[in-house]
């Protein structure tokens, strides 16, 4: 029990040291509060504007989550087509790399133009940015099945559907989770980036990206810090949820999902 609490205590100590350092920098260099607010001011901003902070967080979480879920469904379906038909993969796989390299800030205005301002537009942007890692990793998992396992299924006269659903798909689940883990982080980034362009259809209401833009234009630096904190917590929560699901589905059989051994 003592050994388990130690890393937690260490992390907490680092956090407190950072706060102290932050406060010291303010005192020693006399930084104006619109440049760098004190930890105390940030805490006050969190409390004072808690309802709007939570509502911004919820909006962004919904957009990023919706985009992520859509990218998982679409990504797995596309990967299944890639895994099953080599000609489809040869023809279309290069475009998934294109999808990965296209800068989201460059296409966000286009999406906004086509779909219109608001949450749907932002969800679409989160979806597009999350799609490539899901497709790429799942496809890799589907096609990297050991040859002898395929032979085993063939000797049992397995149908193409049995090969897909009883061999390739379960084999691809660990890779799928790698893809989802990457996608979960960038879906939040995608949603916030999207909100910078298409944040809100109504003034005063919107997700974290929209609120960040608004707070910075008003020089509400303490609230800006609170928003950045909220965005970080959101990204971390997504990552944590995916890690938990990965552990839950894989820990019984897959090496990567085992709890780390005690050092």
């Amino acid at each position: 029990m003592k050994a388990r609490l130690l890393p937690l205590a260490n992390a907490l100590a680092v956090f407190l040291a950072m706060l102290v350092l932050w406060q010291l920098v303010l005192w020693i260099f006399r930084v104006p509060s619109y440049m760098l607010p004190s930890p105390w001011a940030v805490a006050r901003a969190v409390v004072a504007r808690f309802p709007s902070l939570v509502s911004s967080l919820a909006i962004t979480a919904g957009e990023a989550g919706g985009g992520l879920l859509a990218s998982i469904v679409a990504g797995v379906l596309i990967a299944l087509a890639f895994g099953q038909f080599r000609w489809v993969r040869r023809m279309l796989y290069p475009y998934t790399i294109l999808l990965q390299t296209v800068p989201i800030v460059a296409i966000a205005p286009l999406i906004l133009m086509w779909v219109g301002a608001g949450a749907i537009s932002v969800t679409v942007i989160a979806f597009i940015i999350s799609l490539a890692p899901v497709i790429a990793n799942t496809t890799q998992g589907l096609i990297s099945v050991e040859e002898n396992l395929v032979h085993l299924f063939l000797v049992y006269n397995a149908s193409p559907a049995q090969l897909l659903f009883k061999l390739r798909l379960p084999h691809a689940v660990p890779s799928l989770f790698v893809g989802i883990r990457i996608a979960s982080g960038i879906s939040v980034i995608g949603a916030i980036t999207g909100e910078l362009y298409a944040g809100s259809s109504r003034v005063g209401e919107g997700g974290l990206g929209y609120a960040i833009l608004y707070a910075s234009s008003q020089l509400q630096t303490d609230y800006l810090f609170a928003l950045v904190l909220a965005a970080t917590i959101l990204g971390f929560s997504f990552f944590f949820i995916v890690m938990f699901l990965e552990w839950y589905f894989l820990h019984r059989w897959h090496e990567s999902a085992r709890a780390p051994e005690a050092e």
């Binding site: 002898n148 063939l154 000797v155 897959h254």
Partner: protein, 257 residues
Amino acid sequence: MTQEFIAPQVEFAGVTKRYPNGGLVLDALDLAIVKGEFVTLIGPSGCGKSTVLKLISGLTPPTAGTIQVDGMTPKNARETVSYIFQDATLLPWRTVRQNVGLGLELEGVNGTRRAQRTASLLELVGLGHVAEAYPRELSGGMKMRVSIARALATSPRLLLMDEPFAALDEMARDRLNEELLRLRAEQKWTAVFVTHSVAEAVFLSTRIIVLAAHPGRIHAIIPVKLPFPRLATLRAAPEFGALTAHISRTLREAIPQ
């Protein structure tokens, strides 16, 4: 002397196999394996012994010649064939029980019958106590026993084994050899076995085919007349040693200097 005419279970007539790049793997191979035999293919690497198993199971077609298994084409005969690979080829996301039931499941055998058959095979190979374990929790020898149980679950008439015990230590290999013969005595399948180990070949086989390489061809056919049941003590018997020495010599002749 009256003797029943026995149709061969596996018959190769002038079977030639080339790699896609044209390299010759097997050159006009003629081979007849009769029901109940335990035939071992032994030879240097590149003699095409694994290819013979792939041809019998229809995993690869011959370039020339004909192959018959149970009087059928290899692909049509697959229902009667089970294959054991060098690695255990277990599905890591399935428990031992689910792995043993795989062949039955793919062949559409219903759940209750599958459960009965799986349970009895797990008992047979002595793995009843780990039925709900996942493969990664098992030792190499146990994994291979799961693989054997899975192969036998579909009641094959012909068992193809491609160096199944090559990755195991000698003790585990000897134990599994003895177990394999015990299972064969109960279930009467025909076996085609590939190995690099002369002692293993002598212990298991009724007939040993020594292949030469480049291209793969039959160098010698040596019957093993040691009586069954063969027990662990056989390995210390003088006739076992003599035969092993003879086959080792023959094998050396098959390897070009």
